[in-house]
Symmetry: none
DNA sequence: AAATATATGATTGAAATCAATCATATAAGT
DNA sequence: ACTTATATGATTGATTTCAATCATATATTT
């Protein structure tokens, strides 16, 4: 029987995500996980293959792209030029021998991508982000990982143990991501993420938030910091965008 | 017709490399690229799958993991059948809801490979090994990572912070690797690795060392434990091999 | 040099997979 | 409300894939 178009599309998206995570799924598993018949599964696979999002094999399907940290990889591509530009503003603050904390999230990850070619001698990197670890492992920065609980979909470490591990560090520069900023301060979605970011701020001489223009004026569930906390904003938003969201133009770098 | 062993091994290595690069190859392509019959291709795939270096699909094969951890991947293939067999002895000790610590090293890694299909409900995995993280992330075990300093070549976490993080845990079963065992006890090469393993033992109800027969009688730079520490040996060595190294036959499982 | 072990390709029957077709229930269009 | 379009599950016969078996040539061992 016919079902609503959006239902079909949602299911196919789900299947694509599932395959991103699992890399390969036999047809049988696709059927059982999505509770659909073999015929429908095949039809979905045909469509997803047409749009190039997956590849099929006899008896299953897989994703060509597999970054090990998939949902992360999805978001990664978006606006990556602009994220790079933001991250580049951080580099002057990273002196040789200093310690930088790179937070989870795609924008701070952009900084990690710049580090190998920046060649800052004796730089120590502390992070809770597995993609950052994967990217920098084998390079010549000294790499340190907070412990904690893995949030698989985000591939980052959080939880009480991560916060405790953070307290062990003296950070020179923290680089954080956020969901939005309003005149009330900085916002993020998950409490546990914010808890760790607060710990990072408390242990850092300076803390930066990288934020692309679209996120100006947005707020989310958990407040990271108010404007009085010394958190510094780096954004590519224009003066007008900032003014219209009534962001106080305190410490801030624009590009 | 029989061909030299090294030829076979070289061809299989080539196939593994090919798959690393291509991610997925249909059987037909494998045959033509390596100029081998379907039967031989299948046999090669079976072997490579046994050693965990590839995964098969109907009509082809693909690689599950990136070569991000190269030196690790190198050692991985060797003796993997036997390592799997050793690791399998651990499974009965992992009850649902329990917490297992999986140490760095290729032998404990073999255990991680068994976990997804073992499907132990509510199992918590604590580890200092990034390959283990990579393997299990996205699966349905609850995954926790010790913090610490990354040893790039080994892709594992060590150092004082790792030891401290370990103290936060109550482990049911620790699974450790070692360089050798003598009548004097268990040995490993690096002091820092041993320090972490000792912490693991101290926080575990039971601790196992997986050791393939060749390592019986070897000693290395740092002593992990003497025989009185309750560390349990799981090995595929014969009674004779053990006797000739004068290993006391205390707690021990052989296969 | 002789005996043994084994890697290979070919074959084969069984099982799995595939695309196509069909009836039907329900969404979307009028 | 009525008609049309289509997403779905079931079925089917053709095709593909698989593991097992076998004969043979050549490594390896004795």
């Amino acid at each position: 029987m016919r079902v609503a178009k959006n239902v079909v599309e949602a299911r196919r998206q789900l299947l694509a995500d599932l395959l991103q995570n699992q890399r390969y799924l036999p047809l049988e598993q696709i059927c059982s996980r999505l509770s659909i018949s073999e015929a429908t599964a095949r039809r979905d696979l045909v469509e997803l293959q047409k749009s190039g999002r997956i590849k099929r094999t006899p008896g299953g399907a897989f994703t060509e792209f597999s970054d090990k940290f998939p949902s992360f990889a999805e978001r990664l591509g978006r606006d990556s030029d602009r994220k790079n530009a933001l991250a580049r503003q951080i580099l002057p603050h990273l002196s040789s021998g200093s310690t930088v904390y790179i937070d989870g999230g795609t924008t701070p990850y952009a900084l990690a991508r710049l580090l190998p070619e920046a060649e800052i001698p004796g730089l120590k990197v502390v992070t809770n982000s597995l993609p950052v670890v994967e990217l920098l492992s084998g390079g010549d920065v000294s790499l340190h990982i907070l412990g904690g609980d893995l949030v698989a979909r985000q591939s980052l470490l959080i939880g009480e143990r991560a916060v405790r591990a953070m307290r062990d560090w003296k950070i020179d520069v923290s680089v954080l991501g956020a969901e939005g900023v309003t005149k009330g301060g900085f916002w993020n979605s998950a409490l546990e993420v914010v808890a760790l970011q607060k710990a990072a701020m408390a242990n850092s001489k300076r803390s930066f938030v990288l934020l692309i223009a679209e996120k100006i004026g947005h707020r989310a569930g958990a407040q990271l910091a108010s404007w009085e906390c010394g958190l510094e904003l780096i954004t590519d938003a224009t003066e007008r965008q900032l003014a219209s969201a009534r962001i106080p133009s305190l410490k801030m770098e624009r590009i």
